[in-house]
Symmetry: C2
Subunit: 205 residues, 2 copies
Amino acid sequence: MLLCDIGNTSFHFYDGKKDYKKDVTSFDSSSIDEKVYYICVNPKLKEVLHILKNWVDLAEYIDMNKYYNSMGIDRIMACEAVDNNIIIDAGSAITVDLVKNSKFEGGFIYAGVSAMEKTYKDISSALDYSFNFECDLDIMPKNSRDAISYGYLKTLYSEVISHEMQIVLTGGDAQKLASVFPTAKVDDKLIFTGMRKIIKKANIC
Amino acid sequence: MLLCDIGNTSFHFYDGKKDYKKDVTSFDSSSIDEKVYYICVNPKLKEVLHILKNWVDLAEYIDMNKYYNSMGIDRIMACEAVDNNIIIDAGSAITVDLVKNSKFEGGFIYAGVSAMEKTYKDISSALDYSFNFECDLDIMPKNSRDAISYGYLKTLYSEVISHEMQIVLTGGDAQKLASVFPTAKVDDKLIFTGMRKIIKKANIC
């Protein structure tokens, strides 16, 4: 079974054994003959893929009453993957979603690592640092680099742990955040797990 | 006694009764004859003011062993104003500083309101909202505007209250944050209070 998570920059495939990426600007989706179960947050590509019969949009099998209208399908798929967790999906944005007893209980959106480094730099050239992910979050900082690292990371940490739920980390920057959330489970295939659950539930495979 | 807090955009004067601002690009600092006690974060203006004999730079009277080198003089002055508080100074950046028994215990830097609204907009046009400062921070959001408002405000809130200190809010966006921190004391003259304390301590008036 071939799964594909399509973002704004790449097609992320997973065949159950290995995963690989293809660039959205150069990859020809009609070059694949086998059935592909996909989710897509890229509106232009959605139009192209709807024409291709072997590409199956899993968004159509989601019970949207459980979520809200403008919520990204990648966030929804991650929520479908778990039963009782707080999910941190660290990409260009960091989404934090709460699932209790398999029910989506809401979530929030934080800025991603590189977006936030740019924000500090734009506020002042004196804040032009990469974050220190090893910064000691138990003490208030006394230097500029740690002051922005703490400002970005500890605020997120304090809010996330207040929910007292097992944390699951996914997304491109999951490894960077793993040192901040030492008790978190890192799962870079979380979205694919959600997709497989939906396929099974809808009995379409 | 005339006090002046000089930033990158304005001279902020306070004569003990009323405060008023002058634009840095048009205001002529040599047009004032009386003594002015000031702090300045603008390096170019510092050079100009050092030549004028009636302008007294209060940075010279600070015991820098209590702080760290690259820390802004405005943050330092706010810390000098209090004995036991957590200070939130909400400007283009939001600085959060901890003072216990009149000792600076460290602080962190968060992005300011407008910088952060721009960050979300730049991540995705679907996140181009002004923050909802009345957003209910007791429940996880189920719409995009509240998801970013909660992401920005509740994370800051969760970290700040974890220190269990009386909160003082100052800076241009203090009123906006007042609804998020209902127990906070809003003091838009905090920096001037710090400046007066330094003048008294140094016995230079």
